[in-house]
Symmetry: C2
């Protein structure tokens, strides 16, 4: 497995929740958006993203709603619940703590 995959572990949730903070999005869009905002760094596979969304939905952190486009095409738009917003806050704090702890080790004062 690529090294990046290991680093990602535990961080996908906060990334997805962050995306949804600004506006509802559908899965495919999140993949592109993550890629764009990270300047090409993150390429989530669909096999990664969709299971994450389902897990978040089961956990009531997001809700998904099907929306039919003019063409008849269907998309599932996800948005944050209140619990999701709280979780996002927690996760951002956890990330901040974690990353500064790592920095304490790898760049000793």
């Amino acid at each position: 497995m690529r090294d990046l995959a290991q680093l990602l572990k535990g961080n996908t949730d906060v990334l997805i929740l962050s995306l949804l903070e600004s506006e509802p999005m559908y899965g495919y869009q999140m993949i592109k958006e993550l890629e764009r905002r990270s300047q090409g760094f993150f390429h989530l596979g669909e096999g990664t993203l969709y299971p994450v969304l389902h897990r978040l939905e089961r956990g009531k952190l997001v809700v998904g709603r099907w929306r039919r486009l003019d063409g008849g095409q269907e998309r599932r738009y996800y948005s944050l619940t209140e619990a999701g917003e709280r979780r996002l806050e927690e996760q951002m704090t956890a990330w901040a703590r974690f990353s500064s702890a790592v920095n304490l080790i790898i760049k000793p004062a």
Copy 2:
């Protein structure tokens, strides 16, 4: 499993290698040292650390040498190889890239 465990994934190597950059250490000491330097944030279990050390040793990134103390007690001191130093550099760069990519997502400009 605790959330922290997931965040840690892929980062244990760089943490351990960083510790060894300053001086050789033995396993038990690394656990205490990680805890101390991270101000209590990291509590690696022994069931986490020892397998990591064995993996690093198999990969020739560290070498372990038994040393007998006055009391008859034995410890296994690990130190970085040249390959280990190079790996440490790579991993530090990878961490820097990764953490700034995450920051791009979770704190949009």
